[in-house]
C-alpha cells in the first residue's frame, strides 16, 4: 500500500493551546480515510494543514512522497470541500466547477466537456447554468464536490460533508460519496464526528481526541477491539465493568441479555463469559426496543450500572425494582488493553 499523504510528528498550536499534538498518520492511496472524533478534537485543523491553509507549528506533511509542509495551497493540487461549501456566489454552477480547470489553462471546449462530465457524475448536469443560491443544500454540496473533483486532485478532502444535510439525505450521500470515489479512484480524507458515518464509509478510520490519535485501522478491526475507554465510549460501548482480576471489560447494550429472576449465586457464566445479578432501575421505551438500566455488582464487588438493549419478547417479566440476571452474548465481552 503506497501512501498518498503523510503526517509526520505534526503539531498545531494556537497560542498556548495545542489543537493537534504530534500527529503521525499515513493516508493510503486510493482509500477513504476518515478522521473521527468529538467536536474540537482537531479534525478540521488537521485537514486544513494537509490542504495548506495553515502551517504546522512542528512536523512534516508529505503529499505523494514530497515534503509539502511549506507549499501554499494553490500548488498542492488537492480538492477540498468545505463544511459550508464555499461556492462562488457570483458564478454559475458550471463556472464554479470549471474554475480550477480555467486556472490550469484547459482549453474552452475541453473544459466544457470535463465540467459537464463531472456534473453528470454528481447528477447535476441539468443545473449547470444556475447560480448556487438557487440550489438546495444537497445540490450545493454536490457542486462543491464536483468543483473539487474536476481538477482531478491528488486527494479529495471533505470536512463534515454530510452534517448540513437532513437525516435522510445524509444517509443517501454516504453511499453516493463511496460510489463517486469508486468511479474516480480518488484518495479521500473525510472528517466527521459521526461514528456511524465513519464505520459505514471508511476503508481506514482514525479516532482522535484532543489533538491526538487514539486508534486507527479499518472499521472491521477497530470496532470489535477498541484500544481504550475513550474509543469504546465513542463507538457506543456503554457498559464498563471489571473482571475478577480487576481488568476493564466493556460490552455494548445490544449484546447484554436480561432475564427476570435472580440466578443462583454459584451458577456458572454462560458462553458469553458474564453472569451478574441486579435490579432494574429504569425501563425506557424506544419503539423498536427497550433500554433497560440495571444496577448490578461486578466480580470485584463494585457497583455497576448496566444499559441493556432489549428487543421484542425478551422484555417479558421485567419491571422497575425487579430482580434480574444479566449475561452477555458469546464473544461480545471486550477486554480493554491496560
Amino acid at each position: 500500500m503506497t501512501s498518498a499523504a503523510e503526517f509526520v510528528g505534526v503539531s498545531q498550536k494556537f497560542g498556548d493551546f495545542t489543537a493537534v499534538d504530534d500527529l503521525s498518520l499515513t493516508i493510503a492511496e486510493g482509500r477513504l480515510t476518515t478522521l473521527l472524533g468529538p467536536s474540537g478534537c482537531g479534525k478540521t485543523t488537521s485537514l486544513r494543514m494537509l490542504a495548506g491553509y495553515s502551517r504546522p507549528t512542528a512536523g512534516t506533511i508529505r503529499i505523494a512522497g514530497r515534503d509539502c509542509t511549506r507549499v501554499p495551497p494553490e500548488r498542492r493540487d488537492l480538492g477540498m470541500v468545505f463544511q459550508s461549501y464555499a461556492l462562488f456566489p457570483h458564478m454559475t454552477v458550471a463556472d464554479n466547477v470549471g474554475y480550477g480547470l480555467k486556472l490550469r489553462r484547459v482549453a474552452k471546449e475541453e473544459r466544457r466537456r470535463r465540467v459537464m462530465e463531472t456534473l453528470e457524475l454528481v447528477g447535476l448536469a441539468h443545473l449547470a447554468g444556475n447560480r448556487p443560491k438557487k440550489l438546495s443544500g444537497g445540490q450545493q454540496q454536490r457542486v462543491a464536490l464536483a468543483r473539487a473533483i474536476a481538477i482531478r486532485p491528488k486527494l479529495l478532502l471533505l470536512d463534515e460533508p454530510l452534517s448540513n444535510l437532513d437525516a435522510r439525505l445524509r444517509v443517501q450521500m454516504r453511499a453516493e460519496i463511496r460510489r463517486i470515489q469508486a468511479e474516480t479512484g480518488l484518495t479521500v480524507v473525510l472528517v466527521t464526528h459521526d461514528q456511524d458515518e465513519a464505520l459505514e464509509m471508511s476503508d481506514d478510520m482514525v479516532l482522535m481526541r484532543a489533538g491526538r490519535v487514539m486508534q486507527q485501522g479499518p472499521p472491521r478491526e477497530v470496532f470489535p477491539a477498541p484500544a481504550n475507554r475513550f474509543v469504546a465510549e465513542f463507538l457506543g460501548y456503554e457498559n464498563f465493568l471489571a473482571d475478577a482480576e480487576g481488568r476493564t471489560l466493556t460490552v455494548r447494550p445490544e449484546n447484554l441479555r436480561v432475564a427476570a429472576g435472580a440466578a443462583d449465586a454459584d451458577a456458572p457464566a454462560g458462553p458469553g463469559g458474564l453472569l451478574l445479578r441486579g435490579t432494574v432501575a429504569h425501563i425506557a421505551y424506544r419503539g423498536a426496543d427497550l433500554l433497560v438500566t440495571v444496577d448490578a455488582t461486578d466480580d470485584t464487588g463494585a457497583a455497576v450500572r448496566l444499559l441493556c438493549d432489549v428487543r421484542g419478547g425478551a422484555a417479558e417479566g421485567l419491571s422497575p425494582g425487579g430482580e434480574v440476571t444479566v449475561d452477555a452474548r458469546e464473544g461480545a465481552l471486550v477486554r480493554l488493553p491496560d
Binding site: 490542504a51 495548506g52 491553509y53 501554499p72 495551497p73 494553490e74 500548488r75 498542492r76 493540487d77 488537492l78 480538492g79 477540498m80 468545505f82 459550508s84 461549501y85 464555499a86 461556492l87 462562488f88 456566489p89 457570483h90 474554475y99 480550477g100 486556472l103 490550469r104 443560491k133 468543483r147 473539487a148 481538477i151
Partner: protein, 265 residues
C-alpha cells in the same frame, strides 16, 4: 403596504408625507412665474431655471462641488476598500483597533473635524480650500466606504477565497476573481453614498471654503440669506433631478437591493 397592520401603515404614510411634502413644495415653487419664494406659486414658468443655469456663482460652485465629491469619493474608496478587506479577510494584529480607528469619524461631529482641519491644514500648512476640503470629506467618507464595502464581505462565506486558492489560484488571482466581484456591489453603493453625502455636505464646507472655492450648498445658503427669489428652489430642483437620475441608473445597472444590501449572493 401591509393592510393588516393599520398603525404601521399609518406611520409609514406619515413618514412619506413628512419626507416628500417639503420637497414637493420646493419643486412646485421653482416653477413659479412670480418673483418671490412663495406657496402657492403665481403662474407657471421655467424662467427661474433659466436664471439659475445662467447664474455664474451657482455654476462655478456646482463644478467645485462635483469636483470635490468625485475626488473625496475616489480617495475614500482607495483607502476604505483595502481597509475593509484587511478587517474582514486579513490576519492583522489589533483588528479591533484598526476597525475602531477607521469607523470613528462617524461619531465625531463634523464641525469639530472641520475646525481641526481649518486650524491645522489651512492656517498651519497653508493648504488651499480644495485640498483641505478633499481631505476633510475623505475623512468623513472613509467610515462609510469601510462599512458598506465590508458588509458585502462580512456576508459572504469566509472560505470562498480559500476555496479559490485550493483550486490553484494565486493570492492575486483570488483577489481579482473572487474577492473583488464579491466587493463590487459594496464598492458601488459606497461610491454612491459618498458622492451624495459629500455633494450635500454643509458643515465642513462652511469652515473650509474660501472666496475662490465654494461648494454649491453653501453658495445656495448664502443666496437665500440675501434674496427671496425662487432661483434657489429651481437650483434645488435641478439637484434633485440629478440625484434621481443617478439613483435610476444605479437601480438599472446593479439594483437597489444589491447596492444597499451590499450583498452579492
Amino acid at each position: 403596504m401591509n393592510t393588516r397592520r393599520p398603525v404601521a401603515a399609518a406611520l409609514a404614510v406619515a413618514g412619506y408625507v413628512v419626507m416628500l411634502v417639503p420637497i414637493l413644495f420646493v419643486v412646485v415653487t421653482a416653477f413659479t412665474a412670480g418673483s418671490t419664494l412663495r406657496f402657492p406659486p403665481e403662474g407657471l414658468s421655467t424662467r427661474w431655471f433659466e436664471e439659475a443655469l445662467g447664474y455664474e456663482p451657482f455654476l462655478t460652485a456646482l463644478v467645485s462641488s462635483l469636483q470635490l465629491a468625485a475626488l473625496a469619493t475616489a480617495l475614500a474608496l482607495l483607502i476604505g476598500v483595502p481597509v475593509a478587506v484587511a478587517i474582514h479577510r486579513g490576519r492583522i494584529p489589533g483588528k479591533g483597533l484598526v476597525e475602531g480607528l477607521f469607523l470613528s469619524p462617524l461619531i465625531v461631529p463634523e464641525l469639530v473635524v472641520g475646525l481641526a482641519l481649518y486650524q491645522q491644514l489651512m492656517i498651519g500648512f497653508g493648504l488651499d480650500s480644495l485640498t483641505a476640503l478633499t481631505l476633510g470629506h475623505t475623512a468623513l467618507m472613509i467610515p462609510y466606504a469601510v462599512r458598506v464595502t465590508g458588509a458585502s464581505l462580512a456576508l459572504a462565506d469566509p472560505h470562498v477565497e480559500e476555496a479559490a486558492r485550493g483550486l490553484g489560484a494565486s493570492p492575486l488571482r483570488t483577489f481579482a476573481t473572487v474577492t473583488l466581484p464579491l466587493l463590487r456591489p459594496g464598492i458601488f453603493s459606497a461610491a454612491l453614498l459618498s458622492f451624495v453625502t459629500s455633494f450635500n455636505n454643509v458643515p465642513l464646507s462652511l469652515l473650509l471654503q474660501t472666496r475662490e472655492f465654494r461648494t454649491l450648498p453653501v453658495t445656495m445658503l448664502d443666496y437665500v440669506q440675501q434674496s427671496y427669489d425662487p432661483m434657489v428652489a429651481a437650483m434645488a430642483t435641478l439637484i434633485l433631478a440629478g440625484t434621481v437620475v443617478l439613483a435610476v441608473l444605479a437601480e438599472r445597472t446593479v439594483g437597489f437591493a444589491k447596492i444597499f444590501g451590499g450583498i452579492n449572493r
